[in-house]
Symmetry: C2
Subunit: 345 residues, 2 copies
């Protein structure tokens, strides 16, 4: 809202009516250039020599990547899709929903360590920083037949130190966790291998014929505004200071109680801010410490606090995910209710 | 462009950032109301008591409908997806691409007449007016286990007489063939059965978390402008007169030749224009009449005319689809080249 004039767009009724941009693709190359510029500036991803595709949010790209890494022919055994708990539930629900012959969801990576024999492809979802717990993570499976889908939605200075630019084979980002524009449904994938890139394009063509050009225009304008403010640093300073403040408040509140605890996140050197800094996660991964508090969600709900059950993330229901990325009023209410709950113990 | 001022939108930088509309859905109810109003005005579809969902173009909705009609459990045999040639290739490519355990593409309806035994569900794509040939069609398979996906993209007064409002169980429309805004990726499905509607919503949630709210805003504005002009009739008068003119010109040109022919479309009473009228198809389904002209596409291409091969539509390559929905300049060039080609014969 600080950039009300520059962030607005005026769209003529006949803007971008057709299917294609001038190069015959569904993808705005100007927007690709903006994305590359921003990653270079933040230093959170290497884009040189890589390919970029767009999706309707990261959601569509997650599934596109699963199809892209899975075998084309039915003569090969289905790819095994795995992740390490606690993990974002969409990896599992989406993979199961599409119910394809060429891949299947095979649970936790822990069942497959040292068992990734080459008879099938493994597709490992790696989320760093992790959703729900904000930790910087790495893939755990090894082998030529292991493909990683690196969900980098939260790899921005808002949420984490940036130790070095990510250089994974397939990285997925979304504007939702960069500017907050979840409703625009705009995400992008950065892909090393040309054949994988071509397969992603095929999915996006067959599924939706690319991303709404109206959403691309919107994203273009938002990137413009990000790149202009304080040499592109303003939004990150603002977002980090906001979330760090919230995380500090939350830690203070929870520290008064022995009944509840939060995830531990260690400080790291951040190449963006050029100093050691704490992580400032998008979500609190709160634990009810008492053995008998088997449903932490219900305990919080009874206090008027809405979170998401640990079991959604393939974890124990002693855990609940609480979002720190909400409106200021909502956050203040959350802290008030937590203070009341903690005082009662 | 005649409505430059009213059709433009000014979008603030923070417009519709979040995931949800005020009712907690991904779907603008105001836009749903506009869509219902337009269908009532045109008389091309009954929406009363039905459910409406949005997709990233009709493309996404076609696949969502296939999943919605297919069995949930692997204990049932896969649904058989079929269509009647010539048909829009996406029905086949999409069904094959997603490679699901619960459905499979099973070719032409002609193989299944009187063979739709109840051991599996049949999903029949019915396109009326048909793409590529513009004919008003009906489903050909019968039985309680036959589900139709009615692709109604071209069921507008631009392209066809409207004999009566369509009242099918599942109808799919797209703004692309209404206003021309293909790039916005906005379509909608009108659904009779609540359980099918819920399944469509699940697909749209799992696949993309709904349609870009920017695209929905854009569509809302376009519907506003349509509904305002001449009590909502202006766009249809304009579009019909434009396409009728083109179809007439094309028929004149082709009638000079015995080597080529066009599909025959009979006149029908149109409840929208309240008179008998000719159909005015979006595409010419041109045939090279000579037996030896086995690749009509190449013959046209040699004359600088680009079309799409009949085989793409599961038809004979004596046929080529030529688009009449292109810019005026492009259409004039097409007619000039066809005149030259015809004069040579």
């Amino acid at each position: 809202m600080r950039h009300a004039a520059s962030s607005a767009i005026l769209v003529s009724g006949w803007h971008r009516m057709g299917y294609y941009y001038s190069d015959g693709s569904y993808i705005s190359q100007l927007l690709v250039e903006h994305i590359k510029k921003l990653h270079a500036l933040v230093g959170n991803a290497i884009t040189e020599g890589k390919y970029i595709v767009f999706g309707s949010g990261s959601t569509q790209l997650l599934n596109a990547a699963v199809y892209a890494f899975s075998p084309d022919t039915s003569s090969q055994s289905p790819a095994k899709v795995v992740a390490t708990p606690p993990y974002y539930p969409v990896y599992r629900t989406q993979t199961e929903y599409f119910n394809a012959k060429n891949f299947s969801y095979e649970g936790s990576t822990s069942s497959w360590i040292n068992k990734t024999d080459s008879s099938s492809t493994f597709i490992e979802f790696v989320t760093s920083p992790n959703n729900p717990d904000g930790k910087l993570t790495k893939g755990v499976l090894e082998g030529d037949n292991v493909k990683q889908i690196n969900d980098r939605a939260y790899y921005w200075p808002h949420y984490t130190a940036i130790p070095s630019p990510a250089d994974d084979d397939l990285m997925i980002f979304t504007i939702s966790k960069l500017t907050g524009h979840a409703g625009s449904r705009f995400g992008w994938a950065i892909i090393k291998d040309e054949a994988v890139y071509e397969k992603m394009l095929t999915y996006l063509d067959v599924n939706t014929m690319g991303v709404s050009r109206a959403a691309q225009l919107r994203a273009l304008k938002l990137f413009d505004v990000i790149l202009e403010g304080d040499d592109g640093k303003e939004i990150f300073k603002f977002a980090y200071s906001t979330i760090r403040h919230r995380w500090t408040k939350l830690k203070e509140t929870i520290s008064k109680s022995k009944r509840f605890s939060l995830q531990k996140l260690s400080s790291q050197y951040c190449t963006f801010f050029k100093r050691e800094r704490e992580l400032s996660p998008a979500y609190a991964w709160l634990k009810c410490e008492r053995e008998e508090d088997r449903n932490c969600y219900e305990i919080l709900e009874a206090a008027g606090i809405s979170g998401r059950e640990g079991s959604l993330y393939s974890a124990d229901n002693h855990y609940v995910r609480l979002s720190l990325i909400r409106s200021k009023d909502d956050f203040d209410i959350l802290i008030n209710k937590l203070n009341t709950l903690v005082a009662k113990q």
